[in-house]
Amino acid sequence: MPATYHLTHLRTLESEAIHAMREVVAEFERPVLLFSGGKDSIVLLRLAEKAFRPAPLPFPIMHVDTGHNFPEAIEYRDRRVRELGERLIVASVEDSIREGRVVEQTGPRASRNGLQTVTLLDAIAEHGFDAAFGGARRDEERARAKERILSFRDEFGQWEPQRQRPELWALYNGRIRKGEHARVFPISNWTELDVWQYIAEEDLEVPSIYFAHDREVFERDGMLYAVSPFIELMADEKPYTSTVRYRTVGDMSCTGAVESSAATLAEVVAEIAATEVTERGQTRADDKVTEAAMEDRKRQGYF
């Protein structure tokens, strides 16, 4: 019998996240869990298992597929959902382009990252989802430091920082009007290190691109990009092979790799603990465009 009833910080965060997921499932009619095969959504999926097993998950799993994803992440996504025996919905940016909902950018800096927002909002409307679980964390970026665990989006899917509800204790107000929806971030209070430590403690499988591997890369704006069919090289960009890994999993066109020899979960945890650059600063070109880039994208309805 323990003398003091003690939970570690990770188990405290886990328990709070499970509580939030159960509250949302109880108060909303049609939730959905957004899953990209990235580390944060991997944790989210494990938390969903913890919250609802032995029953099936009370919501489907959805991926907004830009068509520019890493093949390793897509392969992992399909395998993981199959293992769990759950239902996967794939909302495709490719389809949105074909249907004329969005227009593809062109040129060497073209990215489908911004187009995802329309595909996501269309899918939410099409399926009638009223709550979407996402793996965003407050430590990722300054605009997210003020994000709620339950974040409300109006009928246009937009986020208005001044109109968010105060969130007290763990009393979540899940009431919305028809047409509105909520984004739910159960791991808001986790840091990147927490996520990796949890993955290690739970011994969760992650896509292989999170570990060091040899890849053909080139340098642009101080970041390393993978050579892929989705990105045009500029005249002075010379590809070379390097040992790299990824800290985030996004589009191949805007996700940078880091030089690393971390080949195991333990080595990744150690590397993150010692890092000197934030995850987004090091690997996400999309946040670099302007100082308020993330804030702007959030207002439009981004994840």
Partner: protein
Amino acid sequence: MSVPSHPTDVVSNGNGKSAEGEVIAVPLGESAQEAFRRLTERPADLLRFATAGSVDDGKSTLIGRLLYDSKQVLSDQLAHVEQASERMGHDFLDLSLLTDGLRAEREQGITIDVAYRYFATAQRRFIIADTPGHEQYTRNMVTGASTADLAIVLIDARKGVISQSKRHAFISSLLGIPHVVVCVNKMDLVDFDEGTFEKIVEEFDDFAARLEMPDVTFIPISALLGDNVVDRSDSMPWYQGPPLLYHLEHVHIASDRNLIDVRFPVQSVIRPPSSSVADYRAYAGQVAGGVMRPGDDVVVLPSGRRTTIAAIDTFEGEVQEAFPPMSVALRLTDDVDAGRGSMIVRTHNQPTVANGFECLLCWMSEQPLSPRRRYLVKHTTRTVMVGSVDVRYRIDVESLRRDEDVQTLELNDLARVQLQLSAPIAFDSYRRNRVTGSLIIIDEATNETVAAGVILDTEVEGVLEEPKTERSPNVKWQGSRMTRARRREALGHGGATLWFTGLPGAGKSTVAAAVEERLVEAGQPAFLLDGDNLRHGLNGDLGFDEDARSENVRRTAHVARLLAESGTIALVSLVSPYAADRASAAALHAAEELSFLEIYVNAPLELCEERDPKGLYARARAGELAGLTGVGAPYESPVNPDLVLCSDETVEQEVERVMELLAARGLVKLES
């Protein structure tokens, strides 16, 4: 570009350690395996703190300094701050820019919302709720404070305790934050003067004396220069206490939770289709109080149906106990009518079930309280309609005066109200339990969260189920002509109760008897109330089931109280396995302002079993004795005992420890 600091003050912490805070960073040469092991083998706990103070108090600078000096600022963030500092024409690194937020705030130079920040040291992980301090943002401070274990109130040393400091102190106390740290900032601007600091401490204490603030710590700092933030200040040798970060790393928070009153609000029912798992039905929720175990007798509120916990499930499998803040799923032995909004509690320790009560509200909406609107209350996992909100008075936060001439409530108002609901809820006072004592009010038309409330310790109206009370309410206590002071003066000594609790065979009676001998020989009357002896007479009619054990404790507590009142030190040696029963015994003494000291004789079960002075364990293991504490019945360890004896000392040494405790509490004088 440089960070301001004292000219002689070299920023000392390289990659590994600072003077006080050991920082999570991998020292050079440490292998990945070593680093991983260090991170995972010594799991940290979590401290949430709220910071309150206006821009001028240097709050953002303080947070920036904490992050910077504890090596939590990464190079790209630092580069951003450098650029921004340059743009603003500073020739130094403005650490306050580390925490600026949304564009509107940057443009207006203000903070409009609670921002959450994260940092870690080897001791703890920290979550900062960074709340703006101006008057119009009481709402935000209440939000940030609602989940905080600790509040930092910033005071500008030049200005002293101003109305905003009082507001922050008041809200911290209102929201039941167990620990408050008053940082007297900008000490560099008052020449690090001790007198200035002392004067502020005194002023604040004067104000705080009128509030409920269990633990207040004062630290003189300079956030700008870093004095006493992470590293100890060389400029204030008169200050003997620790720097802020050290305090944050070491303040004791484990006992802030309520581990006594079992409270389990049901979030949902987990019932897989029968094709996958046959007849599985479990109640999902997060433990809001107490320690739950399989076999516990429980009652489901508000229906009042009694049943027993069959099992406590988690994803990893069944567990033998669940405590706050664990999220689990309970299986019950009977098919009871429970679902979302029900609360599962222990049979002998129930919350109040009522549809009317008093609470303190903070109004958070720009739409004032209106009798024409329909409101909902969300309390734990239950949402009910509000019948009426009757404003008793509004509180002026700065003067603490009551304004009784109010009909409505507006944004940022704090008020005491009587709330009448359309259906009963099961609640405790906020002071007793922050989960079961808190609520939000939602406007049914706009779905906005318009108010937050904490339930007060008052008599309730419309009580459906009486809490457990004395059975002879009309018997009045007969007054004695003798006051305690007169008795004490005449006898030359006062009384008290020492409550020795622990497993059978832990050595309670041995040490209690030795203390008795020591006291009596020193001329202090003392009397040993031994559990076994009492069962021969006074408690001879009682068995060993849960209710009988509670009754055994209740009677013994009353006898001890009478002895203590008479000027005797009562030494109770009783297994007393249930925390709630011991809490009742303590409360009985507290009500009479008599000293009650809980002494936990903490011997490991293996040792007790090896000693087995009465052969009880042998009989229990042989199946001849059911319900022996430690074997067939639970023992709930004290959460915050006055003294723990760990059976690693001789009886004489243990007696010495007890005598020191009595001396420290002013109950006996130690011979030198």
